[in-house]
């Protein structure tokens, strides 16, 4: 535990922290420009050598840039939102106000998730009560220290309370839920189900980002072209490497459209080279024995279950490429284990996907075909369709949900027409 993340021992610890946050959010309003200035400075500070290489920091820095956030603010909250103006809407005018205190329950597998979640609510003018998973405590402290350094006046830091407690302490989860006006909940099925069932106030807004997987797809024109193949393989490797392939946006499967008689061996060789290069650049520093075991099992299972399956992997558990046929997604192994599935027709394969898939990373040479694939994927339940190499770039909407709008109240002021309230024409 660090000073920046407070250990909660009793429900009272949480309710008193929430009371202080509520006092601040009700008495001190901030403008979006103030928030953006702090975020911009925070992003710069995160580029310093002690934090720049922490997992996910490049994505966090990209997200914090004014150029990234301004268009999202304008789209979700209206063109005048940056200046605190009301937005005209016929006879009415609209403006976003904070819901109050937003509780955040991030997952334990993505280092930057507590901060991404928190920034969405802060941009709505809210205060944040954030439960930091124990395993993310150290990295969160390092990242939040840069925010404190960038926010000398406490414009945003006064609105943030980071706390830590054992995930089994239901009394503390309950106290947190009862103290908030909104919640952003991330994670696996069990965690999400537990948090959703907490006694939130009836008015509380809940944004749930549950467990999902992601896939990638390439058409034959892309993977068979020696001019583009290597760059695309490097992009897939980047997407696989981030977050040790544990994020919902991590590709578990690559569908490879294969026309008659073509050999994918050159492509697999290029992918192998890209994986080796990525591994040299970003070697794993630790692993749980259970993941090593799962990786070894995935390799053996794949090769034993079908004699036409093939695979490439080193003697270490660093990475694995499993190659086979068909459109059925195997149970994800994670830990940089990518299954490459050759399919005769991308559209037919992707038609079998469902809402379990969050992101589709695409490399398709023909723009019309790309549009057709994107439309099909969207209709099957996929929420993000992005180019390969950009699968983890955080942006709104996420999981099909606007990230800022969900934690604000859009207040509508309908002005009286002439004659109403006794006004004369």
């Amino acid at each position: 535990m660090t000073d920046l993340i407070r250990n909660a021992d009793s429900p009272e610890d949480i309710t008193s922290a929430a009371a202080e946050l509520r006092r601040i959010v009700e008495t001190a309003s901030i403008t979006l420009n103030q928030s953006l200035e702090v975020f911009e400075a925070w992003g710069l500070a995160l580029g310093q050598s002690d934090t720049a290489d922490l997992p996910g920091v490049p994505f966090l820095r990209l997200w914090l840039r004014r150029n990234t956030l301004e268009p999202i603010i304008t789209k979700e909250l209206g063109p005048g939102a940056l200046n605190g103006d009301w937005m005209e809407d016929g006879r009415a005018r609209l403006k976003a106000y904070p819901v109050g205190i937003v509780g955040h329950w991030p997952a334990g597998n993505i280092e930057i998730q507590p901060l991404l979640s928190m920034t969405c609510a802060l941009l709505g003018g809210n205060a944040c009560l954030v439960r930091i998973p124990t395993e993310l405590s150290d990295v969160t402290s390092q990242l939040i220290a840069k925010l404190i350094q960038s926010d000398r006046q406490g414009i945003l830091t006064s609105r943030i309370y980071l706390l830590s407690f054992d995930h089994e302490r239901l009394d503390l989860h309950r106290a947190m839920a009862q103290s908030v006006d909104g919640a952003m909940i991330w994670g696996g099925e069990e965690a999400v189900s537990t948090i959703r069932s907490l006694p939130f106030p009836p008015w509380a807004r809940l944004a749930v980002f549950g467990p999902r997987i992601s896939v990638a797809a390439m058409d034959a024109a892309c993977w068979s072209d020696p001019a583009t193949r290597e760059a695309l393989c490097r992009r897939i490797a980047r997407d696989v490497w981030q977050f040790d392939q544990q994020a919902c946006s991590s590709p578990q499967v690559l569908f490879l459209e294969k026309k008659n008689g073509e050999s994918t061996s050159d492509f697999v060789q290029a992918l192998w080279t890209a994986f080796e290069a990525e591994n040299r650049a970003h070697p794993r520093e630790a692993i749980e024995g259970a993941l090593t075991s799962a990786i070894c099992q995935a390799r053996a299972n794949w090769l034993l279950k079908n004699e036409t399956n093939s695979a490439v992997f080193p003697a270490t558990p660093d990475w694995t490429i499993l190659v086979g046929h068909g459109s059925e997604i195997p149970q994800p192994t994670q830990g940089k284990t990518l299954t490459v599935l050759e399919v005769p027709d991308l559209l037919a394969a992707l038609a079998r996907l469902d809402g379990n898939v969050q992101t589709l990373g695409l490399a398709v040479a023909d723009p019309e075909k790309e549009i057709a694939i994107a439309s099909l994927a969207a209709s099957r339940g996929i929420d993000r369709i992005v180019p390969l190499g950009r699968m983890h770039v955080f942006g709104a909407p996420w999981d099909g949900v606007d990230l800022l709008r969900i934690m604000v109240r859009i207040v509508r002021h309908l002005r009286p027409v002439d004659g109403e309230h006794g006004r004369s024409a």
Binding site: L303, L304, P317
Partner: protein, 374 residues
Amino acid sequence: MNALEARIDELLAVPPYSLSPEEREPAFLALLKDELEYACNRSAAYRNYVRHWPIDPRAAPSVADLPYLPVSLLKADPPFALVDPHAIKKILTSSSTTGQVPSRIALDSPTSRRMSKAVIAIAQDFLGEQRRPYLVADVPSSVAQGPAMGARGAAIQGLMPFASQLTYCMNPDDDGNLRLDRDKLLEFAKAHRDAPVLVYGFTYILWQYLVKPLLAESISLEMPNVHVLHSGGWKRLQDEAVDKASFNSGVAQVFGCAADRVIDFYGMVENVGVIYPDCAEGNKHVPAFADVIVRDPLTLEPVGDGKRGMVQVCSVLPTSFPGHLLLTEDVAEIVALDGCRCGRRGTAFRFVGRVPKAEMRGCGNIIRRRELAR
């Protein structure tokens, strides 16, 4: 195949703890390579696995470089066999906990014969050759007659060659639970009070149904020449906060023997014929016809003295299933690659526990598919 069997028997005939690693490695490695080739010829699936191994097995400079199979791959049903179904004489099943799929190990006659010879060779090194009264802390039905046998039955049967007389001291009650037959136990103890006696039980059963109740009543069986062997793991005892020292002391008190006559052995049905009893130094040893490699989970490289990692068991004994090189889900610590003070040659190690189960967490973990949740 006959030539291969002859070479296995040759290694099996060597006193199990007489060879240094350098003396043992060349023949052991060559034999494993030939067994791998045999297995590849018998199974196209296995051949596909070996073909994709990052190191060519024929050119592998050491046993650690040969292709190992995760032990969970032996949970297949029907069992993953290298022999025709009609040649399978027995199927051993592991003692999986509730809800888990057990391993299923297909034994043909030659593998079964080697399994018995191997257990005898190892146990003789610890117990001597003499037959003696054999008390089993279990029920007779654990050694079911038929084509299938569980881990308890296999362990009980493996020690039968040391028995001059066999006594089971448990009965099933009306609900099928174990119950100590106290009269039978006391009668056995009285009859063999000063004689060399062999006792075997699963660790938890021995403690829960025999030692714990007798300890509570301060009963001593007064059998100073007993050897009490037990196996099966410590998880349930750890849950009851019983460590190895208190276990040994409790067993010794009940049987009225010295604590060093209580011998824990590590074994698994997948590693047929190979058991790893504790020596007087508290270490487990590898016989000449087998090996244990402990691998660093980060690199899968073998670790050295004093380091912990995942256990890989190696054995030349099986020819009916691909159990030559198995990566287990157990964790052990290498004590020394040679030179244990007990005098046994080869690798000495200590069992540490199981690889902790992966915790399902995070936004990329799908436990069940969406359509099932609807």
